[in-house]
């Protein structure tokens, strides 16, 4: 490919990084990454992916921007309150880097549409905040053999792990199944510190880019925990794939999303409907 003069300037700091260089930039421009959830984690991830020149970026979200989102969802602007998050995100991404083609999926991901949604992409980023959706994304990625970045953030803490098929454990290996609602504290009353989601979302973008370029060490089989109050960062190694895992284990019984549909359906927590990302 021939870089334009604008591209030479834009990516010059990548060209001089030995691990990226001109060939790495070409790979990024040809890569496709899907971010599910244009909320707080998704904001940071999307903006760094666009700035880095990931050529095709999918944004999946069905919500509209609300004023209470703006404290942490930095991809959205005050002027975009009331507009779909996908369109709002697209506007910012295009402003950051017009090279990027942004594909909007203004739908709520479900067991019925997620496989078709993720299939064209090289890497998936989970920027959602409900365990039901996280398990849906996990199981879909495992079944379709797609690498993805899991993350979550609540209050002053965040965590992230990267799943690569055949290389390490999945979210279900770690947590088993969707936790009961009492422990599922990702609702609006829990609150979340904006900068934490920025740190974790940025790590997710870094993992996606590293995967696409085949460089460095991924958080595969490792859970990174970050606490902004103590500034402790802890990485916990997880054993190899749990052979009892219901989706990626030897005797897995989740063979299709449809048959496990109930677990992915949102339970309770209707109070914070729409504003808890």
């Amino acid at each position: 490919m021939i870089f334009s003069e604008e591209q030479l300037e834009r990516y010059s700091r990548h060209f001089v990084l030995r691990e990226i260089g001109v060939s790495g930039q070409k790979k990024l421009l040809n890569a496709k990454v899907l971010v599910i959830g244009a909320g707080a984690l998704g904001s940071a991830a999307l903006m760094y992916l666009a700035a880095a020149g990931v050529g095709t970026i999918g944004v999946a979200d069905s919500d509209c921007v609300e004023r209470s989102n703006l404290q942490r969802q930095i991809i959205h602007r005050t002027e975009n309150i009331g507009t779909p998050k996908t369109a709002s995100a697209e506007q910012t991404l295009k402003e950051i880097n017009p090279d990027v083609s942004v594909i909007l999926h203004s739908v709520q991901v479900s067991a019925d549409n997620i496989e078709e949604l993720i299939l064209p992409y090289d890497f998936i980023i989970d920027g959602t905040d409900r365990f039901e959706t996280k398990f849906l994304i996990n199981d879909a990625c495992v079944l379709l053999k797609k690498p993805y970045s899991h993350a979550g953030a609540v209050r002053f803490g965040g965590q992230t792990m990267t799943y690569v098929p055949k290389s390490g454990p999945c979210l279900r290996c770690l947590l088993g199944s969707v936790p009961p609602h009492e422990q599922n504290v990702s609702c609006s009353e829990a609150g979340v510190f904006g900068a934490v989601t920025g740190v974790i979302g940025s790590i997710q973008a870094a993992e996606a880019i590293k995967y696409l370029l085949g460089i460095g060490e991924l958080l595969v089989g490792k859970v990174l925990n970050f606490d902004a109050l103590s500034m402790n960062i802890r990485i916990t190694k997880m054993s190899k794939t749990d052979s009892h895992c219901r989706v990626c284990g030897e005797n897995s019984d989740i063979l299709s999303l449809a048959e496990n549909r109930e677990e992915y359906e949102l339970q309770g927590c209707r109070a914070c409907n729409g504003d808890n990302k």
């Binding site: 870089f3 604008e6 300037e9 060209f15 001089v16 260089g21 001109v22």
Partner: protein, 104 residues
């Protein structure tokens, strides 16, 4: 694969009337401090000026160690230039240049 030759090979074959273009991509300060005679300076900050180079001439590119210049040669080759990376870079040039002086 990109075109490349060692900087010593290049210096050996270079004649006073060769009309190829030698590009030093190191920072301006380093270029001003000392470069290979005849080299023009295009830094990463002026990277768009790569495309101002004439396409009908052979371009030789060097940096300090010969790594980043390889990236520049890839960009030029993609854009239709005949370009070579000078392996070893300015560091190797200095080593040789001084070596030759001592021999004579």
């Amino acid at each position: 694969m990109i075109n490349e030759i060692s900087i010593c090979e290049y210096m050996k074959n270079r004649t006073d009337d060769s009309d190829d273009i030698l590009v030093d991509i190191r920072e301006k300060m380093m270029y001003e401090f000392g470069s290979i005679p005849g080299a023009v300076n295009i830094t990463m900050d002026n990277i768009r000026h790569l495309y101002d180079l004439p396409k009908d001439k052979t371009i030789y590119v060097f940096c300090q160690a010969g790594e980043i210049s390889g990236e520049i040669v890839e960009i030029l080759s993609d854009a239709g230039y005949t370009a070579y990376n000078l392996i070893g870079g300015y560091r190797e040039y200095l080593r040789n240049h001084i070596g030759l002086k001592e021999e004579s």
